[in-house]
Symmetry: C2
Amino acid sequence: MNTLAEENYLKCIYHLGMNAAIVSTNQIAASLNTKASSVTDMLKKLADKALINYTRYQGVTLTPAGEKIAIGIIRKHRLWEYFLVEKLNFKWDQVHDMAEEMEHISSQELVDRLDEFMGFPKHDPHGDPIPDCNGRFKTPELIPLSTLVVNQCGVISGVRDHTSPFLQYLEKQQLTIGKKITITDIIEYDHSVALKIETDKEIHISREVANNLLIAL
Amino acid sequence: MNTLAEENYLKCIYHLGMNAAIVSTNQIAASLNTKASSVTDMLKKLADKALINYTRYQGVTLTPAGEKIAIGIIRKHRLWEYFLVEKLNFKWDQVHDMAEEMEHISSQELVDRLDEFMGFPKHDPHGDPIPDCNGRFKTPELIPLSTLVVNQCGVISGVRDHTSPFLQYLEKQQLTIGKKITITDIIEYDHSVALKIETDKEIHISREVANNLLIAL
DNA sequence: TAAAAAATTTAGACTTATCTAAAATATGAA
DNA sequence: TTCATATTTTAGATAAGTCTAAATTTTTTA
C-alpha cells in the first residue's frame, strides 16, 4: 500500500490534472501547502513506483495505475461525505476535513459496502460525481452560472469553491444543489447577477459567486 | 492532537493495565510487535506530554489525561465495529483491522453522532462495553466459562481472544454473544467441557476455548 | 548476598517526509 | 538570441519513529 503522503500527492495531481494536461511542481506545492523541493522529492518516489510520468523540469501526469489509486481515494472521500450528510446529518460545509481523514481508510470491501448501504449514490453533497467500484463516473456538462444570459435557466449542480464560508453563504441564500434558477438580470457595471430561485425568491449575487456556482442546463 | 503512534501506545498501555497495576516496557513491546528500545523512546515522549507516569526501569501507568485519550480511542474502535457489523453486515471476525484504522479519525462530533445514529449501543459485536461520550462505561462481572461447574448456566457475554480463527470457530458452533448455555459435563482428563446451547444443541469444547469464553451468570 | 540472568535504557544509525539555501534549467522579453 | 527572471532540482539538515548493539539496572537464584 501507499503512505498517506503519497495518496495525498496522487489525489492532488489528479485534481490539478483536470484543468491542465501537465501538472507543475509549483502547482502541487501551492495546492498541498508545501515547498517545491519537497514536491520534487515525492515526485521521484512516485515515479519510482510507476504511479506518475515524470521527467525533470517537465511536470507530471498520472500513469493509469496512479490514476486508479487517485480515483479510489476520491471515491472514498465522496462516499464518506455523503454518509456524513445523509446519515449523520452534518451540513455540507462541515464534512470536508472529516472526509480528508476517512478517505485513507484502506479496506476496499468497506467502501463498497458503504456504497451499497447508502444505495449507490451518484453525487456527493457538493454535486461532485462519485466513481463506482470500477472507478467509472460521468462528469455532466456543467457551466459557471456567470456564463448564462438573461432569461436563461438551469439547475444548480455543483460548486467550484468547496470552502465552508462559500457553502454557508449558498445555504443561507438557498442556493443549494438541485435548485432550479432563472437569470433575471445581469448588471453590466460589476457583472453581478440577479436571479430567481425555483419560482419564488429573487436574489442578487456577485460575479465571484456566479463564477463558482455550476449549472446544468 | 497526538500522533497515530502515540495513540496506539496509549491504547496498548490501557489494555495491558487492565490486568496489572503497572505495565512494563517488554509487555508493551510484545503487544505492539516492536522492540523494547523503541518503547523506551516513546515512553519518554508520552511522559513529557504528561500522558503517562514513568520512572526509568519502573514501568508505567496512565495519567488521567492519558486514560481519557485511551478510552476515547477505545470508544471509537468499538462504535465503528458496531457500525461495520450492524450497518454494513460484516461478520464479527472481520471488523477488527478496519476499526484499528477508523479509531484514529479525530472528530469528536463525528463519533458522538455515529453513536446517536446507531442508538447508543452499550456493547460492541464482541461483547465489550462501549464508553459513552464522557468516557464512562460499566464492566459487567464476566467469568471464563472454564470456571463454571456442572449444571451451572449463564449467558455468553464476551471473549478473551479476539482473533479471527477463534471468532470463526465460535460462530460455527453457535457460541455467539447472548446465547444461554448450561454445563452438562466436565471431563477430568483434559478439562474439556460439554454444554448445551439454549435448550437444544449439545456440544463439546476444549479447555482453551472454555478459558476464552466469558460468561455472565 | 553475590553472581547470573532478565529487563530496560542509551547510543548511534536508518527511513520518511519535510525544510532552507544554493545550483541548475527553462522561459520569455528586449 | 541572449540575458534576466521564474521554476525546478540538488544538497544538506531536521524530526518522528523505528532498529541493532552495547551498557546499565533490576531481579532471580544458588
